[in-house]
């Protein structure tokens, strides 16, 4: 094969042979694509591995071809993928349909965090360059799932040679943490989950050669990231909060602000055993009317928005902010006086050691506390490390909780978990029979296809807003700050940023 010489020096962009330093706050665990399911892990996996389908730039509404092109059958149960066959792994071997099948089965087999993406899906090789994904239930979201970097295709031969398999006995993670075995734009030069990941460009990459030959992705705390990028010590900072971005004003840097994929919400427990107050509809109404959404959005800074419902603005079926909750202090006070609330202290639990796009949940909690106080609701803040608090949250033990939801794939069906009796619904003590009206709308949304989907999801959210125990508060901005030498950074809700597209 003639690919050895494929890295022609005549590439576009001004970054020939240069290296790029990207600062991020790590939540990195592994460089094994099929096991990672963290923000930083996706950035790494996206750079090292290619997926069967992908998204183009920041548009996540239409899946595009990746290593393969796809066709879906009418009832959304069988997906047929045809490999394009022009990609090569970094060791020069071809990416085959076997590699693809092996990788998808590996995601399922290792039973890791991303395994659920392919729950109920059977992968089968059907020809020299075709494979099918079969689901028992209709699975219209599958094309939106496949671009997830966790479904990156690994080199079966290499992985198996290093202890890998598509079962629980897989032992290739250690190897994949030292060397990459993918066909992505970069190869792994070094990997330290706590400190930094260094990438070098993959000479056998089939696509456009990335602008930077070497990328250093460093783990740096927020405030330091800001100083570094201002000083030119790094070229890209991924985790600046809106205030830090605002302070950059005069500095010679560029800011790219977009609404992020995260939705921060309050939950009020519907289980009377947990709290008779929060399960009181009047009290819920009071809280919904007492929150000053504009002020919270303002506090979260430029680029952040109020989501109309649980589905973030960037996805199909998102509600307009105007149709969401709004502040009405009088209504709040009135509802409160009709409720069983007697002025007792209500605890608000939240994790205090994590930030969402650089924004600490603590400031949101403090703001909510102050606003509810204006309506006469006394809130006691109860922060805890996320490890401790997750337990209470996932067990549905919190009275009022402040959390965020990041989508697993860019499709509104991801948000059906907020329905009664579903994953997040249960966390608010909302049983399956908690609100039949909402349940009906959720089922309708799930079943809807084509253009009807958007409307169905909007209806679902409206009823959720009216009677549900969730109060969507904020969709914080995703800020990427770059030094002037960088001309373009493309963000994406699934993999945050594609290092190979930075120019």
């Amino acid at each position: 094969t003639a690919c050895a010489g494929s890295n022609s020096p005549s590439n576009s962009g001004g970054g020939d042979g240069k290296s790029l330093v990207v600062d991020a706050s790590f939540d990195l665990k592994t460089a094994d694509p099929n096991r990672q399911y963290e923000t930083t892990g996706s950035i790494v996996a996206k750079s090292l591995y290619e997926t069967l389908l992908s998204f183009d730039g920041e548009d996540v509404t239409t899946p595009v071809d990746g290593l393969a092109s796809y066709e879906m059958n009418a009832d959304n149960t069988v997906m047929t993928l045809t490999m394009k066959g022009d990609s090569k792994f970094s060791d020069g071997s071809d990416v085959t349909v076997d590699d693809a099948v092996f990788s998808l089965e590996r995601v399922q087999g290792v039973k890791g965090n991303p395994s659920f993406l392919l729950d109920g899906v059977t992968v089968a090789k059907t020809g020299d360059d075709t494979l099918t994904l079969t689901s028992a239930e209709p699975n219209p979201a599958l094309p939106f799932i496949l671009p997830n970097p966790a479904l990156g295709v690994v080199n079966q031969e290499v992985v198996e040679a290093n202890g890998g398999s598509n079962t629980e006995s897989d032992a290739a993670e250690g190897f994949l943490n030292t060397e990459s075995a993918g066909s992505g734009p970069y190869m792994l030069e070094s990997f330290d989950a706590a400190a930094e990941v260094v990438f070098t460009s993959n000479p056998n990459y089939a696509g456009d050669k990335p602008a930077y030959d070497r990328v250093v992705l460093r783990n740096v705390a927020g405030p330091t990231q800001k100083l570094n990028v201002e000083k030119g010590e790094s070229q890209v900072a991924l985790d600046l909060n809106p205030d830090q971005v605002a302070e950059l004003g005069s500095a010679d840097v560029k800011v790219i602000s977009n609404p992020s994929r995260y939705m921060i919400f309050l939950l009020m427990n519907q289980d009377p055993a947990i709290s008779t107050v929060t399960s009181d509809p009047k009290f819920m109404e009071a809280v919904k009317n007492a929150i000053d959404y504009d002020k919270i959005v303002d506090m979260a800074g430029k680029g952040s928005v109020q989501p109309g419902g649980v589905i973030p603005s960037i996805f199909v079926g998102a509600l307009d902010a105007k149709e969401g909750n709004a502040r009405d202090l009088d209504a709040a006070k009135k509802a409160l006086s009709e409720s069983t609330y007697k002025g007792e202290k209500i605890t608000l639990n939240f994790p205090n050691d994590i930030t969402v796009q650089g924004l600490s949940l603590q400031s949101v909690a403090e703001a909510a506390q102050a606003q509810l106080a204006e309506a006469g609701i006394t809130i006691e803040l109860a922060p805890a490390p996320v490890a401790t608090e997750l337990d209470a949250y996932r067990d549905g033990k919190e009275t009022i909780g402040l959390w965020y939801w990041g989508p697993d794939f860019p499709d509104p069906s991801n948000y059906l978990v907020f329905a009664p009796g579903e994953l997040v619904g249960l966390r608010a003590g909302w049983p399956a029979d908690g609100d039949p009206a909402v349940t009906t709308l959720a089922d309708a949304a799930k079943a809807a296809t084509g253009d009807a989907r958007a409307a169905a999801y909007e209806e679902f959210q409206k009823s959720l807003n009216a009677t549900g125990p969730f109060i969507p508060l904020l969709q914080p901005a995703q800020n990427v700050v770059t030094s002037p030498t960088v001309s373009s950074v493309i963000t994406n809700p699934v993999w945050t940023v594609d290092l190979a597209l930075i120019k």
Binding site: N113, S115, K231, E233, P385, A387, D391
Partner: protein, 362 residues
């Protein structure tokens, strides 16, 4: 009667002494120490284990994603993999057995061997803490000596105030201020991390970049590593400098009052010789004790500095382990810090022996 024989009487009093036989005392001493150390480490692991298990939270939740944690199959597999499905005593015994074989377990977060992760994090912290302690020792002991020589004079007062002020800064804040001023505003020092992004870490021998780069003969890497060390090490050192200055001063002052210092001066020795050979030597034992203690506290103090300087060491590792309930990692850190602490005490004891012959004998 020859007069000289009179003097020997006092020594001869120990005739009632039983003859010493068997194991030489030094070996015995070492053996006992080692045994105690092992017991202490056992205690450390038990306490860590119990404490961590007292935390009302489930490592499953901390390690698994939203969807994965909702899948009983995955949760079961996770529990089985990490031995969490066994009763606590069994878990502990298994852990202990593994530790004895040099296996510190696998991180529940990264699924990497804790020993390997520690091998990365530990040298970073050691490098930082060692440079800080060397720095503090040189400056602190120097200032303390100087202050003691000028006792109650103006210089002494100035040194006193300065060292007390050095003791009073909240490290975490100072770390950021120093970073802001010396990196951001003035640009005198490089930014975060242990090396410039362009530099390659030297081949790992000790894990200390300064030492490794020297071993590999990479002078520019060595320079880079030192350059990156200066700011965080100075911030860390500030507190210890203050502490050591105050301490060295009083230790030296006490020695200055000793007859042997008077005797040395009466011998007409040059001042430098009196100060370094007699005074400092005499004050060294207590100073070394404090130096050992200071190093111990430096190790745990690094967490606050590491955060700001993106120095991915033990402090950061232990912080994330504790907040994410990564039990094997927490235990690993406990063991390592315990070993360092005990090793340090041991080292200090050995140094006593080197410095003070009276210790050597018993």
């Amino acid at each position: 009667m020859p007069s000289s024989s009179n003097d020997t009487v006092a020594v001869a009093v120990t005739t009632g002494n039983a003859p010493r036989r068997g194991i030489p005392p030094l070996v015995r001493y070492l053996a006992i120490r080692l045994g105690l150390t092992a017991l202490l480490m056992l205690g450390v692991t038990i306490v860590t284990f119990t404490l961590t298990n007292l935390v009302p939270a489930d490592p499953v939740q901390a390690a698994l994603g939203e969807q994965a944690a909702a899948n009983p199959e995955i949760v079961a597999k996770f529990r089985a993999e990490n031995g969490l499905d066994k009763p606590l005593p069994v878990q502990y015994i298994t852990y202990l057995g593994n530790v004895l074989q040099g296996d510190l377990g696998t991180s529940t977060q990264t699924r990497q061997p804790v020993a390997e992760e520690l091998a990365k994090a530990f040298p970073a912290t050691i490098e930082l803490a060692l440079s800080a302690i060397v720095f503090s020792a040189l400056i602190g002991i120097g200032l303390g000596l100087w202050a003691a020589m000028k006792r109650r004079k103006f210089t002494d007062q100035v040194i006193r105030v300065v060292s007390l002020i050095g003791l009073s800064w909240p490290t975490f804040w100072l770390a950021l201020v120093v970073y802001y001023v010396f990196f951001f505003l003035l640009g005198w020092f490089p930014g975060s991390g242990r090396l410039s992004p362009a530099a390659m870490p030297p081949p790992q021998v000790t894990g200390l970049y300064t030492v490794d780069s020297l071993l590999a003969g990479q002078w520019s890497t060595f320079g880079d590593a030192v350059y990156h060390l200066i700011l965080p090490a100075s911030v860390l050192a500030l507190y210890t400098i203050g502490l050591l200055t105050r301490f060295a001063r009083s230790a030296v002052m006490e020695v200055l009052d000793m007859d042997y210092v008077k005797a040395a001066r009466a011998k007409g020795l040059p001042k430098r010789k009196v100060v370094l050979g007699y005074v400092l030597r005499g004050a060294l034992v207590p100073i070394i004790t404090v130096l050992g203690l200071a190093f111990g506290s430096l190790l745990s103090g690094t967490v606050l500095v590491e955060k700001v300087y993106s120095w991915h060491g033990l402090g950061e590792y232990s912080f994330s382990a504790a907040t994410k309930l990564d039990l094997p990692a927490i235990m690993g850190v406990g063991l390592v810090v315990g070993v360092v602490y005990i090793g340090l005490n041991f080292l200090v004891d050995v140094l006593y022996g080197v410095i003070d012959p009276r210790v050597r004998v018993s």
